[in-house]
């Protein structure tokens, strides 16, 4: 694991919101409803039954995809927050450390 990193926290938040937008666009898709008319229009066929299965499969996959986008968005937000916290802590630690140095230098 690399011990080096660089990040622009604002970019992470923007990316997270893009992923959420993608999830939002997927959310209203209703493949079962979309394929149902075709199945009903060819009664007695093997394809009618298969269309229902394909509709269900797509619904599951879209749900999963939507969830993936949302998970990805959440992860980015968590990372951004963590970076912010880390940065703040690092800054504080830095400041604390740096200020101590200055003090010792200043008082030397």
């Amino acid at each position: 694991m690399s011990s080096e990193y660089a990040v622009r926290i604002a970019a992470l938040r923007t990316t997270a919101s893009t992923a959420e937008s993608a999830a939002d666009q997927i959310h209203p898709l209703r493949p079962v409803d979309g394929l149902r008319p075709a199945g009903a229009a060819i009664p007695g066929s093997r394809s009618a039954a298969l269309l229902a299965s394909v509709g269900s499969r797509w619904a599951e996959r879209l749900t999963s995809l939507e969830a993936d986008f949302r998970r990805h968005a959440n992860a980015l937000k968590v990372a951004a927050t963590q970076y912010e916290v880390n940065d703040a802590e690092a800054a504080a630690a830095f400041d604390a450390s740096y200020a101590g140095s200055l003090s010792s230098w200043a008082y030397r």
Partner: protein, 581 residues
């Protein structure tokens, strides 16, 4: 397996609607391409978390690629199925319309039941009526079979696409290029053209063609013209297009075969003495000459001219070329005639001449229709050299051999019987390929009239038949000749062939045959028509015989000039005893 009752409910529009829904969903996913690009790791982000995020976004991208490809494939499959269903709907509507018009009931199980009820039948026409009902029933059965076959093919193709989707067969490596993924999915789905059934009847071909979508029909003509060029039951406009497109390729094949045979003969010290190469070369040369004759005939006029020529058949699969060319449009004409020539007929030697004579008959028929105020009715006249007519052979010994042995001779009925099988199919194909049956007339000359007579002993849909210069009907009972209208005979003076009665008795002596004149006459309107004599002038322009043939073709028997022109030959050909029908 769907039933015919299911097919009645099949609809293309909802399937196309679902294809649209699939397209809409695919488009939404494809439009996420920008988002997908954006959620990949920001450029400045490096480190362990960035690596994890990259892995996550790549997985999303892969899933999206596959789903987009799958949806695009299913969309394409649905669209193709909807397109095919348009043809199927048309086929179902056509068979339902025919059943209604012909008074048959179609069961959900595909059964065909005659519901016409009791009818009074003229005893003389009872056989024709029953044969016609059977022909109609057979056509409905054949059409339903083809609709079921087509439905099964549509279901199979769509089912394959859907099964592939369910088994994740549309995975792609598009690296997040969702447009590429969609294209790959679409490309993965195609249609296989369903060929016509082998050895089927014209009703099978008509049912198959009716159930094809317009796109599939265009593909058949472009990719498989050989499927339909000679297939009875297919509309003639499509056959014409297919056959014309085959001429160049057929010529190439024949030229190559000619070169091969010439090279073989040149390499052989004995020439063709000990092989059949010289005879084969002669046949190939005749076939090439046949193509020339066909092209010259077609060049005289083309559709949509009223007398436009259409190439209805082009068959090189036998020793001699076979072809049929119409003057006028047999798909739409009110009156259609089919002329079957006799001894010595070939495409290369006879087509142009017969076409000219048949065009003359058509012209006369159109003129007579105009004279009697039926000028809006249209006529198409076909020259059918669709069988291996026996050939004249030179030399005494060849003729003697022909008389005793060969089947390819005017002395033997085999050519006529074989030709009749093809002619029956051709006749039935005319009715099967059309929404409404035309008034159909068979015209048979010489040995061709015997071929025609053998054909008319089957169920053909022919309404009227004219036999001229006939050596016999292959039966001595005129009731065997099944037509719904009239049986007409023309015999010119000094036509020895018309008196030989070689195939059954001399038709001059049969009852229930209307004898129409070939002698000179003046019509009530003052027109003079000349007599023809001998065996080969029946179609001569301005003659009584041609006029008579034309008015039969026009469905105007009230205008006929009746009367026979029997001569000495008829006296000596009188059968003993004379009890023939």
């Amino acid at each position: 397996m769907p039933t015919y009752g299911d097919l009645r409910q099949w609809e293309s529009a909802p399937v196309e609607g679902s294809a649209g829904a699939a397209r809409g969903m695919t488009n939404v996913l494809v439009s996420l391409a920008d988002e997908l690009f954006a959620i990949t790791v920001p450029r400045d982000w490096r480190g362990s978390a960035a690596a994890s995020s990259r892995t996550s976004s790549e997985q999303i991208s892969d899933h999206l690629d596959d789903l987009v490809a799958e949806m695009a494939a299913v969309r394409r499959g649905l669209h193709l199925a909807a397109d095919a269903l348009v043809g199927l709907e048309r086929g179902v509507a056509e068979v339902e319309s025919l059943a209604h018009r012909w008074q048959f009931r179609l069961g959900d199980d595909g059964s065909v039941t005659d519901v016409s009820g009791p009818v009074y039948l003229d005893p003389d026409k009872a056989d024709e009526y029953r044969a016609e009902r059977q022909r109609q029933c057979d056509e409905l059965v054949d059409r339903i079979e083809q609709l079921m076959r087509r439905a099964d093919a549509i279901d199979h193709e769509l089912g394959e696409v859907l099964s592939a989707a369910l088994s994740s067969s549309y995975t792609v490596s598009a690296d997040g290029d969702l447009g590429e993924a969609a294209a790959a999915g679409e490309l993965a789905v195609g249609t296989t053209l369903l060929p016509p059934v082998q050895g089927g009847r014209p009703g099978d071909a008509a049912g198959w063609w009716d159930a094809l979508s317009d796109a599939d029909r265009a593909r058949v003509i472009a990719e498989h013209p050989d499927w339909i060029g000679n297939l009875d039951g297919i509309p003639f406009a499509a056959r014409h297009e297919a056959n014309v497109s085959l001429i160049a390729h057929t010529r190439q094949q024949l030229v190559a075969e000619q070169s091969r045979l010439e090279a073989d003969l040149a390499d052989n010290w004995f020439g063709g003495t000990f092989t059949t190469d010289d005879a084969a070369l002669e046949m190939v040369r005749d076939k090439l000459a046949s193509l020339d004759a066909v092209e010259r005939t077609l060049a005289q006029s083309r559709p949509p001219a009223p007398d436009g020529r259409m190439l209805l058949m082009l068959d090189m699969s036998h020793d001699r070329a076979m072809s049929a060319i119409s003057v006028g449009d047999p798909d739409r004409a009110d009156h259609v005639s089919v002329f079957t020539p006799g001894l010595g007929s070939t495409v290369h030697g006879s087509m142009e001449g017969y076409d000219g004579e048949v065009a003359g008959v058509r012209r006369s028929a159109v003129n007579e229709l105009q004279r009697i105020g039926r000028g809006s009715e249209t006529v198409a006249s076909i020259t059918w050299v669709g069988y291996q007519a026996p050939q004249n052979r030179d030399g005494f010994w060849e003729k003697l051999y022909d008389f005793g042995q060969s089947e390819d001779t005017v002395f033997d009925a085999t050519s006529a019987q074989r030709g009749a099988i093809r002619l029956v199919s051709f006749y039935n194909g005319i009715d099967a390929s059309r929404v409404t049956d035309p008034h159909l007339t068979g015209l048979g000359h010489s040995y061709g009239s015997t071929t025609q007579a053998f054909a008319l002993q089957q169920s053909t849909g022919v309404d009227d038949a004219v036999f001229f210069g006939s050596p016999g009907f292959g039966t001595s009972n005129s009731d065997d000749i099944h037509v719904s209208g009239g049986r007409y005979l023309i015999e010119a003076k000094w036509d020895p062939i018309a008196d030989v009665g070689h195939f059954g008795v001399d038709p001059s002596h049969l009852n229930k045959i209307t004898h129409i004149s070939s002698g000179e006459t003046t019509l009530p309107d003052g027109r003079y028509l000349e007599e023809v004599t001998g065996h080969s002038a029946y179609l001569k322009s301005g003659s009584t015989s041609q006029y008579n043939i034309a008015v039969v073709v026009a469905g105007a028997p009230e205008m006929l000039v009746t009367g026979d022109n029997s001569g000495f030959g008829d006296i000596i050909s009188w059968p003993l005893p004379v009890a023939h029908n």
